[in-house]
């Protein structure tokens, strides 16, 4: 394995599990937060180029220091809490939304054995935490005592419960094929470029697209961003939040998108393994960032779906499709 720090025989960087989680966790969290912050710069540049404008140019070369300026600005902003809100829930929501989105990082394997917590139910842990993100969003929507926030929260819940099932079913396809919930095992089952997105031909590729779509919906990205539809709901649940608390929701959304890309790369694109080209952290990072960039590409190319179209798409097409995919891959496993 190249490009990764040496790993002890136990799979831990240190002999103690908490110390391993602390050190590796801090590294992964700082890197992911950095990527999330600069991805906002990247997205603004990307969108600007698609629309024939220069994008951020003022702060640093090519506007590269923009995220730092934005962060400092948010730190200094006055914290205005409207008089009508439910104070404890209102304060807790931005904290929990970031904890839930960061928590998913625990089970993602960046290299062979390079994982914060090598849980044997890794896939379930990741999916559980990422759907848990709905609760703080709804907390914020309800606690704000604001009509836009309430509608945004309602839509987020409706969308979340609708796309949860296709997401789970799409994730079940690699579980069936690999016969394990551990993300590391799923990567190893795809060794030698037998990616589940390509192999078995058919169900794998469709499941990959389905998983990617459902992840976009869970992360409220266009075309599934009706919960925050800025043209009708102002900004959904974040309407009443100011300064850093608003920033936390933004950060959580980008983190969630980044982590969803990492999970998709692990489940369907072979994770850290690249067959004859070797294996290592760099492949995992590359695959994750490519998927992440595709999400921006989609965002700036497509329109958003209406709330009822969104629900109909999931229940009419994606849920039965997911069931058929699971059965098809199961047939492959039993007969092959």
């Amino acid at each position: 394995m190249n490009g990764a720090p040496p790993v002890a025989a136990s799979g831990l960087l240190f002999n103690s599990a908490p110390l391993h989680a602390l050190v590796l966790g801090l590294v992964v969290v700082s890197l992911c937060m950095g990527v999330a912050a600069w991805s906002i710069w990247y997205e603004r540049k990307f969108a600007a180029r698609m629309q024939n404008r220069p994008g951020p140019t003022e702060v640093g070369p090519w506007g590269l220091l923009q995220p730092i300026a934005d962060g400092l600005k948010m730190l200094q902003k006055e914290d205005i809490v409207p008089a009508a809100v439910d104070r404890p829930l209102f304060e807790l929501a931005p904290l929990l939304v970031v904890v839930a989105s960061l928590g998913t990082l625990a089970v993602i394997p960046w290299g062979d054995g390079l994982v914060i917590a090598d849980l044997h139910i890794g896939v379930l842990f990741a999916l559980a935490l990422s759907s848990l993100m709905l609760l703080p969003v709804w907390m914020a929507g309800w606690a704000s005592n604001n009509k836009y926030a309430l509608l945004g929260g309602m839509r987020a819940i409706a969308q979340g419960v609708s796309y949860e099932i296709p997401l789970l079913l799409a994730a079940t396809v690699p579980i069936v094929l690999a016969g394990s919930f551990r993300l590391g095992d799923i990567v190893e089952a795809q060794a030698g470029l037998r990616w589940f997105a390509l192999w078995p031909p058919g169900p794998g590729a469709v499941a990959f697209v389905l998983f990617f779509m459902a992840s976009l919906a869970e992360a409220n990205r266009i075309p599934f961003d009706i919960p925050e539809a800025e043209s009708e709901l102002v900004a959904g649940v974040t309407v009443e939040y100011t300064g850093m608390k608003f920033g936390m929701f933004y950060l959580a959304e980008y983190l969630h998108t980044l982590i969803a890309s990492a999970i998709a790369a692990t489940l369907f694109l072979g994770g850290w393994d690249m067959g004859p080209l070797g294996a290592g952290v760099h492949w995992m990072v590359l695959k994750t960032l490519v998927l992440f960039a595709v999400i921006f590409w989609i965002r700036w190319s497509w329109l958003r779906l209406r709330a009822d179209q969104l629900m109909a798409l999931s229940w009419r097409w994606l849920v039965p499709l997911g069931l058929v995919l699971v059965m098809a891959s199961a047939t492959w496993v039993v007969l092959a």
Partner: protein
């Protein structure tokens, strides 16, 4: 207990401290206005004076969808352990699951025909 759980718990602690740190930092560094304008702490309604509160009886419009969700969520709970052990269980388990999912899809078709997923 699997030491991985200890790692996972520690990591959730790390995530909590990082997130809380950002909020505490903002509280310490944030400016505070000396003059208090009475309308400052009003609920935002695009500049209009807010009309009543948002905590009212409200039609969620997806009651039946929520029921369907519970149904299919339980169904995935059945599918997941089956998926894990499929290699050992073999053809019989596959046939049984196909029958189970088939019955479920009949129920799904009934719900769709009855308009459970229409905007109400």
């Amino acid at each position: 207990m699997d030491p991985a759980w200890l790692s996972a718990l520690t990591f959730l602690g790390v995530a909590f401290v990082v997130a809380a740190g950002a909020l505490v930092g903002a509280r310490l560094l944030g400016v505070k206005s000396r003059v208090d304008v009475p309308t400052r702490r009003d609920t935002y309604e695009c500049g209009e004076e807010p009309e009543g509160v948002a905590w009212v009886r409200f039609h969620p419009r997806y009651y039946l969808v929520a029921l369907l969700f519970v149904l299919f969520d339980v169904e995935t709970v059945f599918i997941l352990p089956w998926a894990l052990n499929l290699d050992d269980l073999g053809l019989l388990a596959l046939v049984e699951m196909v029958v189970f999912v088939g019955i479920l899809l009949l129920g799904w078709a009934y719900a769709v025909r009855k308009g459970a997923i229409e905007w109400q």
